[in-house]
Amino acid sequence: MSTFIEVKNLTKVFIGSDKRFTALNGVSFSIEKGELAVITGKSGCGKSTLLNMLSGIDQPSEGEVMIEHVPIHKFKGSQLAEWRGKNLGIVFQFFQLMPTLTVLENVMLPMEFTNSIVRSQQKTRAMELLGRMNIDALANKFPASISGGEKQRVAIARALANNPNFIIADEPTGNLDSANTASIHQLFNSLSEEGKTIVYVTHEKDTALRYSRKLEMVDGKISNQ
């Protein structure tokens, strides 16, 4: 196995009007390719900030973030967006689907943004992904008319649209019932088995116990790797 994510001495400081807040304080760790790592911790411990650094959504104050040996901490706005589109799939807690696009179109949207898949094959690819998530029958429905579990499957299909090697999931089961939660975990496991590197953020201890690689965060630091 080779190193997929390498984080060195990562620090993030937020400067408010009258005080500084250190969200990440010299965090260092690495994750191997195909690993499914769970980041846990209490609310305000810095999980989401770390996730933002790994996904290029935010930039560190200090330190390095190397994904597949690419220093994404050096990237700027549009470079990061392009990198994310081609290399990263994000699954949000609140699904964040485009309400005016159908399920199929939501999955096709990242393909359009990156042009990584030939236009004529985008629909076929999107249908394949929906089929894999067992929601191909919902292809022409709008997000408002499907359940939460179904929405999250659509979000996972969208995250896989450009066939990224890296998937980040931010509390993906936080809004789901236990049956849907189990099903989503299954999906992530199978993706990991296919070689996708997955970073999964949760504050649920039960979820963390399901996976072998755990990174526990306390007060902006990794307390347990």
């Binding site: 933002n52 996904s55 959504i57 935010d58 706005g77 549009s78 967006a81 392009e82 994310r84 589109g85 081609k86 799939g89 994000i90 949000f92 964040q96 485009m98 309400p99 005016t100 696009l101 179109e105 939501n106 096709m108 949207l109 990242p110 359009e112 943004f113 990156t114 969208r158 995250a159 649209a161 450009n162």
Partner: protein, 791 residues
């Protein structure tokens, strides 16, 4: 179709009311520009087309007399295209018993073959006998003149005859009869002979073949013609060159065009601010979606292009709607103005350039205007976009300050919160205020200009303390005339004046156009001049006072300048002692009655009078009737009787064109400004739906929420109103004066319209209530949980 494009279309369709308002904002801007440019283009094209189609005279020579033989020889001069004699005399048509209307009678050699200053026969026939005449079409709005009917016509000093109206013509070279207060008639040379009319100096109209719009060429050609005529011993009495190709109403048109342009530009700017506001609203609502799109790979450029496409689609649809409507409204307005100024829209097309401009304004301008807010919103980082939207910690009004203010003014916490909310987003507040202030300032300016116009016109008439001004075709014994006037029981006062036509003589320059010389009694009480500079007449026979029209026409003449005037064939030099303002008048020189000592033919005589009636305005018609009866009985050679009340009515009609346009503009601005208010207020509420829900979650009831949002709406509305009042002063002062300078060659009596200010306040109050209540009601209808999950 790409998913992003589908998103655009469905976003537009999913929020129909928002899309409708954005569309309406662009439609209104595009409509305003389309209407104004259409009217501008059509009027500009057709006015000169109409005028040039009449083949206006290049120059005119008034001669003592001329034989047919010399006239035929003059026609053979090189470069002379046509020559025609067009004598002009004033008469009076008795349209009903004792009701007279003045008529300019143009004596034409051959009524069926007019080649210079032509007219177009609209109905009837060309006169077949000396007792038939043509009448200009606008005459029927002044008097009940009908085709085929007979009317007595009096030519002062030459008797009365009955004339039949054989045809109605359109002469675009003449101002409308109903505006000028006189009819235009066209009679044959045989008519003048049959009436034994003598002493009228032939007016020779010339057109030249080449460079007919070039003054030096015209002057050169006129000099050659004069030299030829003088070689044939023809005495030249007067020469005249009118500005080539320029219609007599060009200045009215120019001023209307100026106002159209200015209000068009202001409406456009307002529309742009409205678009910016609404685009910011859309982008504010789309923040989270932008964040997600960026998270899944879309760059700033892609996001910008998606939203710019939306604006382009809005612009395209708006253009499809606004252009035909704007064209129809513009054409309607152009037709209205054309009918006011007595010309026709032969060409009802607009130029390709104007069409292209209108399309560009409708489609490209919104894109350009929207680019900056869209680009700025698209640049938002994913973290910022996905963070809590709708709750903003920034407070601009310092807490300590606001607390002190609140305790001093005994404000409730709700009011204090509303005040803080108002000032929380300074950028948004400034943009909202700019939109509202601009709309309000233009609205109030339109009212201010209307009021100022009205005041200025009224001041013109308050300086005239008489009811009737009367002109006679020749001087009559002043003492007899006064004695006769004294015997009239309904006359409360009168002044006998003198009147002559003159030209200004400048060395090495052609003679000027004709101007009026008014001979004024020293102690005039019926005329109160509005002295702009210098002083009024002192009784010195060599001193004159000119009016502002004279000064505008001859800018070389200043106070103290000497001017040479040719009056009654004699050149006299006067010193200019003052300048008075006199609206709706031609260039006029006022001279003291002592000058009559140098005019032997006028000694002891008078040819004009000002008469004031007893009682109030309701008696004017009856007294005028009795005055006409008196004129008939005394057989005075009266050529013109001007009733001040009728004249004022006509002046007001002159202004109808302007005021109607201002009304139209204000109506448009009510819509645009009101829309701006509603949308900007609405945006402020929509952006804070989550915050409102939080307030409700912590126990604030709906009534308090209404109070909060209404207070905020009123604060913004009233602030914008106060600023609009301030801004409207320089705007209306500049626009009004500029307009007046073009139209009347003088400045406006600037006045502020309190009606306009109050109407705008009422509009602001009504619209801000509606603007706030609708979104606030929608917010209150939502459950707290819906509001908190609002995206």
């Amino acid at each position: 179709m790409k998913p992003s494009f589908k998103k655009i279309i469905r976003d537009l369709l999913s929020n129909k009311s928002r899309s409708f308002i954005v569309l309406l904002a662009i439609v209104l801007g595009a409509f305003g520009v389309s209407m104004m440019t259409t009217a501008y283009n059509m009027l500009g094209r057709n006015l000169s087309d109409n005028y040039l189609k009449t083949n206006p005279a290049t120059f005119t020579l008034v001669v003592d007399s001329i034989s047919d033989e010399v006239l035929q020889q003059a026609k053979l001069l090189p470069d002379i295209e046509y020559i025609e004699t067009r004598n002009k005399m004033i008469g009076r048509v008795e349209i009903s018993k004792n009701e007279f209307v003045p008529v300019w009678l143009f004596v034409v050699d051959d009524l069926s073959k007019v080649q210079i200053n032509t007219y177009r026969l609209l109905s009837g026939t060309i006169p077949a006998s000396n007792n038939e005449m043509l009448i200009e079409r606008t005459g029927n709005r002044l008097a009940d003149i009908s085709l085929g009917k007979n009317y007595p016509i009096t030519i002062p000093g030459f008797g009365t005859t009955v004339m039949k109206i054989s045809g109605i013509v359109h002469d675009p070279g003449q101002a409308p009869s109903w505006m000028e207060g006189l009819l235009y008639g066209y009679v044959s040379a045989g008519f003048a002979k049959s009436m034994h009319i003598s002493g009228i100096k032939p007016e020779l109209k010339f057109t030249i073949r080449t460079n007919k719009y070039d003054i030096p060429t015209i002057e050169k050609q006129m000099s050659k013609t004069i030299a030829f005529l003088e070689s044939k011993h023809i005495k030249i009495i007067r020469t005249e060159i009118l500005t080539p190709g320029r219609h007599i109403h060009q200045s009215q048109m120019d001023s209307l065009m100026f106002l159209l342009q200015m209000f068009g530009v202001l409406a456009l700017i307002l529309s742009c601010f409205l678009i910016i506001n609404m685009i910011m609203a859309i982008m504010a609502k789309e923040t989270r979606q932008i964040g997600v799109m960026k998270a899944i790979g879309a760059g700033t450029g892609k996001i910008t292009s998606i939203y710019i496409s939306i604006v382009f689609i809005f612009g395209f649809i708006a253009t499809l709607i606004a252009l035909p409507l704007g064209f129809m409204a513009g054409r309607g307005y152009a037709q209205f103005v054309a009918s006011m100024l007595n010309f026709e829209l032969f060409n009802q097309q607009i130029s390709h350039g104007v069409l292209f401009f209108q399309i560009a304004i409708g489609t490209i301008l919104p894109v350009l205007v929207a680019f900056v807010p869209i680009y700025r919103a698209s640049r938002i980082s994913v973290r910022e976009a996905l963070s809590d939207y709708g709750i903003d910690d920034a407070v601009s009004l310092k807490s300590a300050h606001s607390q002190r203010l609140a305790s001093k003014l005994k404000l409730s916490n709700t009011t204090l919160l509303a005040i803080r909310n108002t000032f929380r987003r300074k950028g948004r507040l400034v943009l909202t205020l700019i939109t509202l202030v601009l709309g309000g300032a233009v609205f109030i300016s339109a009212f201010n200009i209307r009021t100022s116009l009205k005041d200025t016109v009224n001041s013109r008439f308050t300086s005239q303390r008489y009811d009737i001004s009367m002109f006679l075709s020749k001087g009559i014994d002043e003492a007899d005339f006064c004695a006769s006037l004294d015997s009239l029981p309904f006359v409360s006062g009168y002044e006998t004046w003198g009147y002559a036509k003159a030209t200004r003589i400048v060395v090495d320059k052609p003679e000027s156009e004709l101007m009026d010389v008014k001979v004024v009694p020293l102690q005039t009480e019926l005329f109160v001049p509005e002295v702009m500079s210098g002083k009024w007449l002192s009784g010195n026979a060599s001193e004159v006072v000119v009016n502002h029209v004279f000064q505008a026409k001859y800018p070389d003449v200043a106070l103290g300048s000497e001017i040479s005037l040719k009056v009654n064939g004699k050149i006299q030099t006067f010193k200019v002692g003052g300048c008075i303002r006199e609206l709706f008048s031609g260039a006029t020189v006022y001279v003291s009655k002592s000058v009559l000592a140098q005019w032997p033919q006028m000694q002891g005589k008078t040819n004009s009078a000002l008469i004031a009636f007893k009682g109030n305005d309701t008696n004017i018609s009856a007294y005028s009737d009795q005055l006409e009866q008196w004129i008939k009985t005394k057989n005075y050679p009266v050529s013109l009787v001007f009733r001040k009340d009728q004249y004022k009515e006509r002046v007001v009609e002159h202004l109808v064109v302007i005021t109607s346009m201002l009304i139209m503009v204000t109506l448009l601005l009510i819509i645009v400004g009101g829309l701006g208010l509603i949308t900007t207020m609405g945006i402020n509420i929509v952006e804070r739906l989550r915050e409102l829900s939080i307030l409700r979650a912590i126990g604030v009831n709906n009534r308090k929420l209404y109070q909060l949002t209404l207070t905020e709406g009123f604060l913004i509305g009233v602030m914008s109103w106060a600023l609009a009042v301030v801004v409207s002063v320089p705007v209306s002062y500049y626009l009004g004066n500029k307009f007046f300078e073009i139209f009347f060659e003088t400045t406006l009596n600037f006045d502020i319209s309190f009606t306009g200010i109050l109407v705008w306040l009422a509009i602001i109050v009504v619209f801000s209530t509606v603007a706030v209540l609708i979104p606030a009601r929608n917010a209150n209808k939502q459950s707290v949980s819906e509001g908190l999950s609002y995206e």
